[in-house]
Amino acid sequence: MAEARDVTVVDYGIGNLLSVARALEHAGARVTLSGAAAEIERSARVVLPGVGAFGRAMEVLRAQGLADAVIRFAQTGRPLLGICLGMQILFEESEEFGRHTGLGLVPGKVVAIPKIGGDGAPVKLPHVGWCPVRPPAGHDWRDTILDGAPEATAFYFVHWYEAAPARADDLIGETEYHRLSIPAVVQRDGIAGTQFHPEKSGPAGLRLLARFLSM
């Protein structure tokens, strides 16, 4: 059995894993990059990174047998963290370039960020930059991957689509853009996802990764 600080980063040939791996190492992890289903399933914890399009990512994950591996891993209750597109593919489906089925680990959908903001102005996309993350009304961050983070801590975002959880309870952090609420962090039990890039969010991002490692 792997040790507590061991992390497997799912390597499915999409995007750059170097930054994610280095940030996890800095946060205290022993990192294995793996594209092998069996290895992923027996990991102590798993990080699912990703950049690019939802449909393409799911296609590759399925073709390599990794979609089922990640689902079976999540069913063990051991900690799973999805980052950016990796968070979005935890959801049931996405409407990015057609309709695509996701891993279905978090109920809800990935939808386009609205074209017109709550302020009536056209919304600039991608939503990119450092933005403050807050708990939705009635939530606090105790015992979540945001535990200990000051409210309105800024993280680094780059995305066109947003992942909207069906259960309000799953959303633990949100940010605001053109007066629209943008889901930033979801978590239920061992499954967590961040729309932003903790590996590019400075010390605040590293602390979040360290909390994931202690889950």
Binding site: N16, L18, S19, R22, A23, H26, V51, G52, P122, K124, P126, H127, V128, G129, W130, C131, P132, A149, P150, A152, T153, A154, Y156, F157, V158, Y177, H178, E199, K200, S201, G202, P203, A204, G205, L206
Partner: protein, 255 residues
Amino acid sequence: MPFTRLIARLDIKGPNLIKGIHLEGLRVIGDPQEFARRYYEDGADELIYMDVVASLYGRNSLTDIVRRVTEDVFIPMTVGGGIRSCDDVREMLLSGADKIAINTAAIGNPALISEIARRFGSQCIVLSIEAKRKTGGGWECFTDNGREHTGRDVVEWAREGIERGAGEILLTSVDREGTRSGFDVELVRAVSDAVEAPVIASGGMGSFAHLAEVVTDGHADAVAMADILHYGRATISALREAARAANLDVRRVDG
């Protein structure tokens, strides 16, 4: 809305961090790794690396520098200088860069912008513009550190670049670069108001007042600074504090 970004710009020649005036007369300042780490630890929002001689020699020496810096710098990094193809972009991204900046290659072949945008996403491409004032008014785009004329109007080229898929503009005033006399606020405002995409103002920062001015009057989304930091005349954290005190919308950094 996203916070106004404070960006440290590192101009690189070979293995060294360098600094010039008007992008010329380069002087060696030190080991880029050491400076990058210091700026990260002091709360920089982003780093920009530019290989200032890459276009001249047709190669870029930044992959190793960037790969090494990912070990202890965890903020977005933009890398530019001598990038000519999608393969060059791919190599930079695999080395740990988040975005690439292009100038010369895009001027020579504007279709390259769309090609990179299609393959890697427009968030990856920063259009780098070296601007010089024209005697009759307006600004002209230059390449090769402000040496080569292109005949292109800066505002027009900025618009075209964004239409073709660039996600951001790094706007360097060659006239002001290295002079510490303040940004060309008029230039920054002309471009910021002409495009939807974020504009990074670069060239001329000598004091906090210059930063405040280019954000407030120039409508800059981000400010790149070099020698004010390299020579220790200001620190990112002190500038951030001054910006917060002046009600500029910058990120709060918690320890």
